[in-house]
């Protein structure tokens, strides 16, 4: 994993000192709220519906165990004993006090972390495939690229005041996109061209929110050396032509749509041609230096075959659902579900964070990933360690076996915490998860992604859920609109809007009806999404609205 150099550490510490001074000046009145607000937002501190909220950056969703322990320390010391993993792989705290935030940032800096660029109209935390460096379907580990982009975009003087926030996602596995690259302002896939060279497929103009758009190809194959100059050119075009008169039309997806992809591409290519690449591009030596931090761990080659048949049923179910193949013989990728049906999706207690950190040290080279699906991953676990790991997960209450099943619901904080929300989303997720709590039933249903947003801003990614749920409110009553057929992967699709909204109770019944309809109609090997695509919207809509 990447380690800060002297410059990184000095910079982060200087930002802590700067913010400490700003908070002191705010508390004694030398700074007004109008002056202070942009400063706190630059350090990830929001004022939400009930309290402050601090959003901590987890670059490309990768943590060392001591960093996760520090996040646990923050939860215990300055908050209410838990944190929340977001759909951008970050960690949020719901109840910090203003005077404590500089201490929190200082503690974070001590383990090479911060909360910079987790808010505001800048390039946000780059997100990444959580199986990076471990998946067999990957062309190349995308994390060195993600780190390069992090360094380039951090406090970039040209791109600190963009028309609107800007989100980049990267993957090295274009055939199995686990980073949702087509729903980002820029998505980058590592690809091979006909000559067998690796380079980048640059996708632009995707995004969710009130105007969901699937990104389009900007460059089908970009040589690796051109990455930063090409991103720089793209950002310059956006910065110059992106609308600043209307925040709802300021994202790059609107610029691409209004300009047209052909003309937008021409603008980028012209800017790229006019750039002096040597001013921006990074040399081989620096690329190698960054890549060295992500070198594969020292795998063992003497791991004995693991026999599942003699293991308890609960363990076998968990392996079947939460454990996926690793590119290295004898190893496995372990998904740790943060989807206890009784909890808010993505919430994890300080005690559980410490348990995961200990497990990472014991079984996964001290490394933990957060996922945009609000779970955690131990990426390099010996197969003959799986049982010992599961035993500890059971003790920590982290053994839910529901990854990619109907209980693995993505859900924003909704009206329970968010100042922008129009309806609650957490209780809806809990109600659905409880209705389908039976593991055998979840397994029988198979892969099914439900995504819930508590407002039109779509932090819960509802547009790309197999079942998407949008919470709204009218005359004091919450109701929920449904979309079906969304897809967040390499075959990304915006879901089809159904009709009138449901109350929470009606919604859960409606979802049960479409699940039953799918189970009745599906053909061999079909997922919910496959059956939906084959049969089409009208039949599913009829099932959704059928009267009991």
């Amino acid at each position: 994993m990447y380690r800060y150099d002297e410059f990184d550490q000095e910079f982060v510490e200087s930002r802590v000192a700067q913010f400490r001074d700003q908070v002191e000046r705010r508390l004694d009145g030398r700074l007004s709220e109008t002056e202070f607000r942009p400063l706190r937002l630059m350090n990830g501190l929001y004022l939400q519906l009930h309290a402050y909220m601090l959003r901590v950056a987890v670059p490309y969703g990768t943590l060392r165990s001591e960093q996760l322990r520090m996040l646990a320390h923050l939860a215990d010391t300055y908050d209410k004993g838990y944190g929340h993993v977001t759909t951008r792989q970050n960690m949020q705290y719901n109840w910090p006090k203003l005077g404590d935030v500089p201490h929190m940032l200082a503690d974070l800096a001590s383990v090479e972390m911060h909360a910079i660029q987790t808010s505001g109209n800048c390039i946000r935390n780059v997100t990444c495939d959580p199986y990076a460096g471990a998946a067999g379907d990957e062309i190349e580990d995308p994390r060195p690229m993600a780190e390069l982009i992090r360094q380039w975009s951090m406090l970039h003087p040209e791109f600190s005041f963009l028309p609107r926030k800007f989100k980049i996602a990267v993957t090295g596995a274009p055939t199995h996109d686990r980073a949702m690259v087509r729903a980002h302002d820029i998505g980058i896939e590592i690809v091979r061209n006909a000559a067998g060279e690796t380079g980048y497929h640059i996708i632009v103009g995707g995004g969710l929110g009130r105007t969901p758009v699937i990104g389009q190809t900007l460059r089908a194959f970009l040589p690796k050396a051109d990455l930063l100059p090409y991103l720089e050119a793209t950002m310059r075009v956006y910065n110059r032509f992106g609308r600043r008169d209307n925040k709802y039309k300021a994202r790059i997806k609107i610029l691409v749509r209004e300009t047209g992809i052909e003309d937008f591409t021409r603008l980028v290519e012209e800017e790229f041609a006019a750039l002096e690449p040597s001013d921006i591009a990074v040399g081989r030596e620096e690329l190698d230096r960054i890549a060295a931090y992500f070198a594969p761990p020292e795998y063992r080659n003497d791991i004995k075959a693991f026999d599942l048949s003699a293991q308890p049923e609960g363990f076998r179910k968990w392996v079947d659902t939460n454990v996926v193949p690793h590119k290295q013989n004898g190893y496995a990728i372990v998904n740790i579900s943060l989807k206890d049906p009784e909890r808010a999706p993505g919430d994890i207690t300080a005690e559980q964070m410490r348990a995961v950190a200990d497990l990472a040290d014991a079984h996964s080279f001290g490394e933990v990933r957060t996922t945009h699906q609000q779970n955690m991953v131990l990426a390099h676990v010996r197969q003959d360690h799986l049982r010992a790991l599961w035993d500890e997960l059971v003790k920590a209450g982290l053994e839910d076996a529901n990854i990619n099943l109907i209980g693995d619901i993505i859900c924003c904080p909704g009206m329970d915490f968010c100042a922008l929300a129009t309806a609650r989303s957490i209780p809806v997720a809990q109600a659905i998860a409880n209705r389908f709590d039976d593991h055998a039933r979840q397994q029988a249903i198979g892969e099914m992604q439900i995504k819930i947003s508590g407002c039109i801003n779509a932090c819960g990614h509802h547009h790309v859920g197999h079942v998407g749920i949008l919470g709204l409110e009218k005359a004091g009553v919450e109701f929920y609109q449904v979309t079906l057929g969304g897809d967040a992967t390499q075959t990304a699709t915006i879901g089809d809007k159904m009709g009138a909204g449901f109350s929470q109770e009606e919604l859960v019944d409606g979802i049960e009806r479409i699940v039953n309809f799918y189970l009745d109609q599906r053909e061999q090997g079909e997922r919910f999404l496959d059956t939906y695509r084959r049969i089409g919207t009208p039949a599913f809509k009829e099932a959704l609205y059928a009267k009991a």
Binding site: A51, N94, L98, Q430
Partner: protein, 98 residues
Amino acid sequence: MSTLKHKGKGPQAMTANELRSGLNVWMTADYEWSRDYTDALLTEDETVIAKMDAVAKAAERFNEVVGAYFIDTVEGKPTRYRERFRTHGPTYDTAELI
């Protein structure tokens, strides 16, 4: 002072967030701040409303609260759903399970 989509109809209450904790507060009949909405002063008296406005602005200047604004109420409760929600806090909080 922000009204956050409130229409100035019916009895008015004044709300804000404490600067230090960020927690929600409402102005009381003593022109102090309470974290409990049931302590809130609700009034249609224009003279009182003007005083509430002045006190809130002063409290912002003196860095006690941030983002003060009036809310509409009906039958003793905030009219807007969002504001009703602010009076009781989240319906779910993992902290309560720990």
